[in-house]
Symmetry: C2
Subunit: 319 residues, 2 copies
């Protein structure tokens, strides 16, 4: 009975979850959201804004949104959903700017990697009658900017929604949007989110940045040697150490306590292993390395990585 659902078109139809969606900030996540919302026909209209004119120009050139406007306020005005896709440190300023024009009944969300600090920065600005539902899609690549997005980025990845006391229907509706963009949705409170992310994302990134920095500072091993021989382990670190510096600076500044807690534990465990190496305690090393394999198997079984040989990587062209 219902008409065939139009796909790959952003017209009003049975799949539309928000009539107008405003994306503030047009980097990797926002541009992937634009593609994924279009793929699913989830938004009646997508309006975008980015801080720099250069980014707005690119977004217009590639037709990323239905409209790209020249202020956050203009983007937010009349939107049913406003998603803050800016670095965590900029969320508060943007929220203050758009607050006066938010439509009653609208939802404000974000995609920041830290949730407690975003809530503290944004919540005070949200007017009565507007729903604030923070969220965080756990997906990314090493690329940034409006050209880096693609429709499948969120497929089979997780998006954590932090209802934070918001209206149940508003939180469910945001969850529907993320499911429509391909993600699995979990709910969590802000502090637990920040602890989990400190383990699975923030500390690994800091460690990767550190290891790449160590390699860069050596006197007796050249950068070109490090690059040539990187397939033996190091490249897995450089991959996550290539992410956007502004975003990561803000993550560490705003999830300070949880990150410092995990870093402290990390240093402890590293020193125990370092001591085992120094003392020649092979049994300790062997037992430790055996236990960590189980977690890896779990990740492959959970569909969060490929088990393909060479990690699914295509060898590059022979020089």
């Amino acid at each position: 009975m219902p008409p065939r659902r139009p796909r790959h078109r952003t017209v009003q139809g049975p799949a539309v979850i928000y009539g107008r969606v405003a994306l503030i900030g047009l980097g990797l996540i926002a541009s992937s959201m634009a593609h994924a919302m279009r793929r699913g026909g989830l938004a009646g209209e997508i309006v975008g804004y980015a801080r720099t004119a250069a980014t707005r120009d690119v977004a217009r050139e590639i037709g990323l949104c239905d409209r790209v406007v020249d202020s956050a306020r203009e983007a937010a005005e009349g939107a049913d959903l406003v998603v803050l896709c800016v670095p965590v440190g900029a969320m508060g300023v943007v929220a203050a700017e758009i607050a006066p024009v938010l439509k009653p009944g609208a939802t404000v969300s974000d995609v920041g990697s830290v949730k407690r600090a975003v809530i503290e920065a944004v919540e005070p600005h949200i007017p009565a009658g507007v729903h604030f539902v923070p969220a965080h899609p756990l997906a990314g690549t090493e690329y940034s900017g409006p050209r880096s997005g693609f429709a499948t980025l969120f497929d089979n990845r997780w998006c954590i929604v932090v209802p934070n006391g918001a209206d149940r229907a508003a939180a469910d509706r945001l969850g529907d949007l993320w499911r429509g963009m391909g993600a699995n949705v979990d709910e969590m409170d802000a502090d637990h989110h920040d602890q989990v992310l400190a383990v699975v994302s923030h500390t690994p990134h800091l460690i990767a940045y550190t290891m790449v920095g160590v390699a860069d500072h050596l006197e007796n091993v050249t950068d070109s040697e490090v690059i040539k021989y990187s397939a033996s382990g190091f490249r897995d670190f450089t991959r996550i150490a290539a992410s956007d510096p502004t975003m990561w600076r803000d993550v560490f500044l705003t999830n300070r306590d949880a990150t410092l807690d995990i870093l402290g534990r990390f240093a402890e465990e590293l020193f125990v292993l370092q001591r085992a190496i120094r003392m020649g305690d092979g049994q300790h090393l062997f037992d430790y390395f055996t236990r960590t394999r189980a977690i890896r198997r779990g990740i492959v079984e959970a569909g969060q990585d490929t088990a393909a040989p060479d990690f699914g990587r295509v060898p590059g062209p022979v020089a």
Copy 2:
């Protein structure tokens, strides 16, 4: 004029580099060598030996070698090239065992991740008239055993040959074999090899094992949360922390000094970043994260990794 070269057959022909090759140990590297030598028609005959009967049975079942024999000595006898593909800690014992049967003019090589310790363990057993040319192919996956090998593992990867004063012709011939298996070949002295590998491989592996261990030991974040949300960075660590525990135990015990040196530098740099987080020094973090991006670009440009979105990974099946 010359007849068409038979490919994918291990018969004597223009591409054959060694008449008979003995592989001692039949794990990932040896089984990949068997496939790659067959692909290139590089060996007249491939003879294999593994310590456990179970591994020998699997190798026979899948036809990995032309012959699988029941002792290292039987495999080495009459071979033109003997490749020790056992954990670094077992190299000396195997060398002592096969020494009496080595053919004059034969070459002994290995694929160990550490070179100085292998030279110290193996060289004293090598009889006069036999060439000892250590080597180390920088390639791997997280899998082990005779079924894990595949012919393309070494394609466009690097193999470091350590001539260690050996006969020039013997070192060149071994280089030809590795090039025939798809690898690029570099030569290096043993100590420099061990320093380079401590940076690009050994320390990153130890750090990855440590990070996975930290995640496993947390009270307030469950293993299943770590697994579910691993796509946000953590999985890149688990990937290299899933490698063979015996192999890695031996690496750290035998490349102790270089690894401890890099670990010391790593701890220093990590503490500087940790302090910047604690003090809220965003400029320091931003500058550090910006510098590390350049190394990543170099690796992609050098063809040692893919620049594909989502790192070339295929999203797993939706649960």
